[in-house]
């Protein structure tokens, strides 16, 4: 019984810290995204610059890594991607995935 309570508490703690980690990642993503939305509109509007909202996170990370490795052409994107850590790319992927198009 005591061990069950203990395990249950462990579970709660783990869940709590996971939520905290998710919140922190989202906050990091929102802050970093301010640099992206000067060009990539968060409303899904696009005209000469692609929309990046609602992407699957794995696809977002893949593309950003291609820019970081200069396997994908675009000097602005290569320059910006090079300034981001793995965690920061992950945070951006999660944040932009969470945005939904207004008119969809």
């Amino acid at each position: 019984m005591r061990s069950f309570v203990f395990i249950a508490m462990m579970g709660l703690t783990a869940m709590g810290s996971k939520t905290k980690a998710t919140e922190d990642l989202r906050a990091l993503g929102e802050y970093l995204a301010a640099e992206c939305v000067t060009c990539h509109q968060p409303s899904h509007e696009h005209n000469g610059i692609p929309s990046i909202i609602g992407w699957d996170p794995w696809a977002f990370e893949l593309v950003m890594n291609e820019y970081r490795n200069k396997e994908r052409e675009h000097e602005i994107m290569q320059t910006l991607a090079a300034s981001l850590s793995d965690e920061e790319v992950k945070a951006l992927a999660m944040y932009f995935n969470s945005l939904k198009a207004k008119d969809d």
Binding site: A34, E35, T38, G48, I49, T79, L80
Partner: protein, 425 residues
């Protein structure tokens, strides 16, 4: 700021407590929210106001002081001169900032800043108190930097360096030039707003003249021996406007001595140039309110702390955009928008204890040389110990494919929509 924050918390608590007891409680509650005031509603100020309001979710009262009811962007005003944009398409209102973001937009001039009382004095005489102030006044023209130039001369030889009516005047003067006439452009000395701007302007006026007045000539009397994206512009002029544009450096003209607006003459050490239409852009300084408030240095610009854009002379004031000394960052709308976000974050951290992440800065300047021939220059920056430093830079190359140039132009259209939405909502 600790004291202000503590005072704010105590008063908020008191306000919340009396809410149910007194009808005046909501007013008391609102009156004691921390206050951010922004001077200037351009790429820096409008962005800062919107980000503080949006990200504080009502916890900070935001006031934006901007005299113009409608803001005409300097960026893309050259495309208007070239006939690529309608004038109306570069004008923006402040309605959404007021209605969707609860920014108190005040159309008045900020004429003084009482830094001891922490109040902005308006042209109407009203006073606006602040806990944190963002000063984003852009540039003012140093009319006396060219003998003979003046506010009156600007009505004949427009500088058109603050967009709006001056850009309309310049377009009319170019459109009405006599056949085969001469247009003279005098670019400003460093440092100035939008380093590639004068050369994009030359390109766009050349484009307009090529359509309507192909025998016309453009003479550029530059006070500088070199300029931004020089190889790209020179190559573009050769390619698209052969024989039309003559760029003279100070060695070739001897230096600008004076202008005579009545005679439409620009006098240099070596020659006198007679113009049928002219654009004369004098030296520049931070918007006058910055100097009035004592925020400028001897050079006329505002020293800042690179991590937060705080003024080096007053911790309660952040100076962003063209008026600031952002070192490696050029004076551009993109830079101002980027700096606004760092300043807005620092203001939220100071006033409501929001998390402050490290400042991130970036810039890209697109220029149009001819139809579908766009080029760009840009960089990523970081706050150094004493100034903002470039970490990574890029620039378009001479001889790029026409597909890439067209894509660069398309991208600049997307950026225009993006940044103006980011500024005005």
């Amino acid at each position: 700021m600790t004291i202000t924050r503590r005072k704010f918390n105590i008063l908020t608590g008191a306000g919340a407590l009396t809410w149910g007891l007194s009808a005046s409680a909501p007013a008391l509650f609102g009156a004691n929210k921390p206050r951010a005031v922004v001077i200037g509603g351009g790429a820096g100020g409008a962005t800062a106001a919107r980000y503080i309001a949006k990200d504080s979710k009502g916890a900070i009262d935001v006031t934006l002081i901007e005299p113009s009811r409608r803001y005409y962007t300097c960026f893309f005003s050259n495309l208007y001169l070239g006939g690529f944009r309608e004038f109306d398409s570069i004008g923006h209102g402040y309605g959404k900032l007021a209605s969707d973001y609860d920014v108190n937009v005040v159309h008045d001039w900020a004429v003084a800043i009482d830094r001891d009382k922490k109040e902005v004095v308006l042209g109407s005489g009203a006073r606006v108190p602040y806990d944190r102030l963002i000063v984003s006044p852009g540039i003012d023209i140093k009319y006396d930097s060219i003998p003979g130039y003046s506010v009156d001369a600007a009505g004949v030889m427009p500088h058109a360096w603050k967009s709006g009516t001056q850009a309309q005047l310049l377009k009319a003067r170019v459109d009405n030039m006599k056949e085969g006439g001469t247009f003279v452009m005098v670019p400003p000395p460093n440092p100035f707003r939008c380093p590639p701007g004068p050369y994009e302007r030359i390109s766009m006026i050349a484009h307009a003249l090529k359509q309507k007045n192909p025998k016309a000539k453009i003479i550029v009397l530059d006070p500088k021996p070199k300029f931004s994206k020089q190889a790209l512009f020179m190559d573009g002029w050769q390619q698209h406007y052969p024989g039309m544009v003559e760029w003279l450096d100070p060695g070739a003209h001897g230096g600008i001595k004076n202008v005579n607006a009545d005679a439409m003459e620009i006098v240099t050490d070596l020659d006198t140039f007679k113009a049928d239409a002219a654009c004369v852009v004098p030296a520049q300084k931070a918007g006058e309110i910055a100097a009035v408030a004592g925020l400028t240095d001897k050079g006329g610009w505002c020293p800042i702390n690179p991590a937060t854009m705080q003024s080096k002379v007053d911790d309660n004031i952040h100076v962003i955009g063209d008026a600031s000394i952002a070192a490696a960052m050029p004076k551009s709308a993109f830079s101002a928008n980027s700096q606004a976000k760092s300043a807005a974050m620092a203001v939220r951290a100071a006033l409501i204890n929001a998390k402050a992440f490290p400042a991130r800065y970036s810039n890209t300047c697109w220029s149009l040389i001819a139809t579908n021939d766009g080029v760009k220059v840009g960089a990523k920056y970081k706050p150094g110990t004493d100034k903002i430093e470039a970490t990574n830079t890029f620039i378009s190359k001479v001889g790029e494919t026409s597909e890439l140039r067209e894509q660069t132009y398309e991208e600049s259209l997307g950026w225009y929509d993006g940044i103006t939405t980011d500024m005005f909502g």
